[in-house]
Amino acid sequence: MLERLTPVLWLLFSAGGTVAALLFPAHLFLTGLAFPLGWLEPPSHEALLTLLRHPVTRLYLLALISLPLFHGAHRFRYTLYDGLQLKHLTVLIAVLCYGTALAGTALAAHTLWSIPG
């Protein structure tokens, strides 16, 4: 089962890695540092809600959340194998890592699609 899924998991890893590499620094700098530290004015709730109502924004955010989650799950899985020498726990680690990514994706999809249009 895990072997059959390997190509898909690698594809998600590299798609998520690219999305995170291109977009996370800007998002993290603004949301995590510049807004809370008062360097820049955070957008108003109204402005963000207007953005969220657009279907393209919802698709963008789903990709922005889901793909990096799968990227992180995949990479963290191998970090556990190599770093902590846990190769004998393959199935448990894979289920936990990808399961978390899958749950995050489901929650993101549900949240994004239940915003009134």
């Binding site: 995170a20 590499a21 620094p25 998002h27 809370p36 957008p43 809600l49 963290f76 993101a108 994004l112």
Partner: protein, 138 residues
Amino acid sequence: MSSAARYTPYHPRWYRRRVSVWWWLKKGSYTVFVLRELTSVAVAFFAVLTLGLVRAVAAGPEAYQRFLARLGTPLLLSLNVVAFAFVLFHSITWFNLAPKAMVVRIQGKRVPDAIVAGLNYGAWLVLSGAVAFFLLRG
């Protein structure tokens, strides 16, 4: 050797010197490798934080204000500083690896690594500008 050899998938019982769990601290390049792999934690952390932001905005203005206030707490600020360093490290290592992961040929000639990496850095700049534009215009 009294007991008969027992073979299990991942722990064959032949002689093998045990490697310390801290093997990656013994050499600089190993440490960089493990730090690069650990960027996965920062990436997953920020994906979850973004999900939290979206949920707060969807829940209404008060929830959004509460979320912003929580971002200003020392705990989340320090987590975000560390995560930002790791995410930057991820971007740089990812773009520098791109020419090796995907060899581009034009008319049979390999496009130089510097150009492939340079295009990635260019795209990074443009997309970061776009993100800032959409989040800062109002």
